[in-house]
């Protein structure tokens, strides 16, 4: 089918890009075979997870230009659906994850319809508002364990369990997540050359012109928002079975939403590789800063100060992010 062919079509990237990407892909595949600390492994898993969050965000926030600061609510819906179904009914991951996805997408349609009547910073604030409302609800809702959250008892399932995705060793998690990661890249690759992707990019350029070319702006935004939600929800479900202990404060907080948006914007919103680059820069920075400066530094937010500085720098000098700088250099060289 044309869609599959399009997903694998990277022909518009220069050869050097494809070689680098290929090498990185091989590196990622071989990574667990190289003896490294468990710390490095968990950092890599974090990197992959945030790449997926970021790729999702990128569809509506990057290509579409609608800065969404409320993605954490879908992390929550995905994570909690999986966790609740697992704890109550021993539901396999491969069932609970799609259910979480459906719930997330349904919710995204509900709030997307009114949300996209707003623009720019009004929209951004409204996304924050909805995410905080949902978090507040989860913090008192007994079904999801209220503020204490939910925990998966360690001996409930025997590792390795591919049905419920419970493993003792991180390597299993890594490869499954890597699979999601590659699928995610293919989906974004499909998206950016699809009709919807083009519509979004036209919308970002000028909504008025987009309408005059027959684009139903409102509907396109809602559809893309649902796509972004799907990414986030899937990664959220994964998060639940990986960390095995979730609570609203660390799954659905504003900081998570901010981090997701930040990474995509830093790496280059509106480009395929941007969110991955962003995650690749920020996640290791965060982890290793915590290691070197001690746990207190992590809590004190020194890493976030660096992020903040980076973001301020990027917004003032190159709003297109790291990838934007790369492309700029390339264009200059071509001329």
């Amino acid at each position: 089918m044309e869609a599959l062919r399009a997903a694998f079509d990277f022909s518009d990237f220069p050869r050097s890009d494809k070689i680098v990407a290929g090498l990185l892909a091989v590196a990622f595949l071989l990574f667990p075979l190289v003896p490294t600390s468990s710390f490095a492994m968990s950092t890599m898993i974090q990197f992959l997870m945030f790449s997926i969050y970021g790729m999702g965000w990128n569809t509506i926030g990057g290509y579409g230009g609608q800065v969404d600061l409320g993605k954490a609510q879908y992390v929550g819906i995905g994570a909690y659906t999986t966790m609740v179904m697992l704890l109550r009914w021993d539901t396999p991951f491969w069932v609970s994850m799609p259910v979480g996805l459906l719930l997330s997408v349904a919710w995204s349609f509900c709030i997307g319809y009114p949300l996209f009547k707003l623009k720019g910073h009004y929209f951004a604030i409204a996304t924050i508002a909805t995410s905080l409302v949902l978090k507040d609800i989860f913090e008192v809702w007994p079904l999801v364990g209220a503020a204490k959250g939910l925990t998966l008892p360690t001996n409930r399932f025997k590792s390795p369990d591919f049905v419920h995705l419970v493993f003792r060793e991180d390597e299993y998690y890594y490869y499954i997540l890597l699979g999601f990661f590659f699928v995610g890249i293919l989906v974004i690759n499909w998206f950016r050359s699809s009709r919807l992707g083009f519509q979004l990019r036209a919308i970002k350029d000028s909504e008025e012109v987009a309408r005059s070319l027959g684009i139903n702006v409102h509907l396109a935004k809602i559809k893309t928002y649902a796509l972004a939600t799907a990414f986030v929800s899937v990664a959220g479900s994964f998060h639940a079975v990986y960390v095995k202990n979730i609570e609203p404060e660390d799954t659905m907080s504003l900081s998570i939403s901010i981090l997701i948006a930040l990474m995509a914007m830093l790496g280059g919103a509106g480009s395929l590789w941007g969110p991955i680059i962003g995650a690749g820069v920020l996640i290791p920075m965060k982890s290793y800063l915590k290691e070197w400066l001690g746990a207190s530094a992590g809590i004190a937010g020194v890493d976030l100060i660096l992020y903040a500085g980076l973001i301020m720098f990027i917004s003032a000098w190159e709003p297109r992010g790291i990838w934007g700088i790369v492309e700029k250099i390339r264009r200059r060289r071509r001329l």
Binding site: G65, V67, P114, K117, L118, G120, H121, Y122, A124, I125, A126, I128, A129, T130, L132, V133, D136, I137, E139, V140, L254, I258, L262, M265, A269, I299, A300, G301, V302, L304, I305, Y307, A308, G309, L310, I311, M312, I314, S315, A316, W317, P319
Partner: protein
């Protein structure tokens, strides 16, 4: 009955302070169409200034108003000249990103310097004093003083904007920057002034707020949301609208009080046994959402 009256009075007093909090946001937005995501962080810093003034100088926390005002003004101007000015030439997305980054920077600098713990004012002339206004309405003196001072500050800024030459220049720039420039009003300086006034007033509000509200580095975002809701309800661009809207928003935080009242008198219960107080601010977020959908220009403002 006294629950209801108590809730109303409390809401109004809080609303008065909210008005001052939101004022700065409106001024900045009015003059340069930039939304300051770091607004709540300015407030937070103002709160710390107020707190430390009283702790280190041993004076009543209300005296923290003056240093906070100066601090806020300087911080606002510094942020403008040092950073925000460079955002203006970029796309709206960059502006959002930028003040967002500023928010993160300020919040985490505070976290690094002050630690994550909540702090509050412990001693002062009015701490622990309450006024009994009759009918069971007991009002903490700190809250009352803060509210009155907020109103005074609010009116001062209003007078500044509408009665002084500088203020009118500011309003002119907000209505039509280019036209104002042709009249000889320097836009750059007006922008800086807007940030100064905005920063100063919100830090002042912080110094007042800290008298009855504990401060921690994370308190900013809540107040950014409150400020946004107030300005959205009152109308971006309308200063008097901000005031009335703030009173309404202040009352929204007292909705748990109202529902308690209804439960008590009429036996009406919402959402079963869930603690409504947990949703104190949830209602504000919901309110923002509803306002933007139903009446985006607010009660008094104009559509931007």
């Amino acid at each position: 009955m006294d629950i209801l009256l108590g809730a109303i009075v409390s809401g109004l007093l809080l609303g008065a302070v909210f008005a001052l909090v939101a004022l700065g946001l409106n001024v900045i937005f009015g003059v340069m169409d930039i939304v300051n995501f770091a607004h709540g962080e300015f407030l937070m810093l103002g709160m710390y200034v107020g707190l430390f003034t009283s702790q280190f100088l041993g004076v009543d926390p209300l005296f923290g108003m003056a240093p906070a005002l100066v601090f806020g003004f300087l911080l606002g101007v510094a942020c403008y000249y040092g950073f925000v000015r460079y955002l203006l030439r970029g796309p709206a997305l960059a502006q959002l990103l930028g003040t967002f980054g500023l928010m993160l920077l300020l919040r985490n600098l505070a976290l690094m310097c002050f630690g994550p713990d909540e702090r509050s004012v412990r001693s002062g002339l009015l701490v622990g004093v309450s006024f009994d206004l009759g009918m069971g309405m007991i009002v903490p003196a700190t809250k009352l003083a803060a509210a009155l001072l907020s109103v005074a500050a609010f009116v001062s800024v209003w007078l500044l904007m509408n009665r002084t030459k500088v203020g009118k220049a500011l309003v002119a720039t907000s209505l039509n920057a280019q036209g104002a420039r042709y009249m000889g009003i320097p836009t750059d300086r007006m922008n800086a002034l807007a940030w100064g006034v905005g920063g100063g007033s919100v830090c002042l509000a912080g110094a007042l707020l800290v008298n009855f509200w504990s401060v921690s580095p994370g308190v900013g975002i809540l107040f950014t949301m409150i400020a946004f809701t107030v300005v959205a309800l009152g109308g971006f661009g309308s200063i008097s609208g901000t005031f009335y809207a703030a009173l309404v928003v202040g009352m929204i935080t007292e909705i748990p009080g109202f529902t308690d009242f209804l439960a008590y008198t009429v036996g009406l219960r919402f959402i079963g046994d869930w603690p409504m107080t947990a949703f104190k601010f949830t209602f504000i977020y919901l309110a923002y959402f509803l306002i933007m959908l139903l009446r985006p220009q607010g009660l008094f403002g104009w559509k931007r």
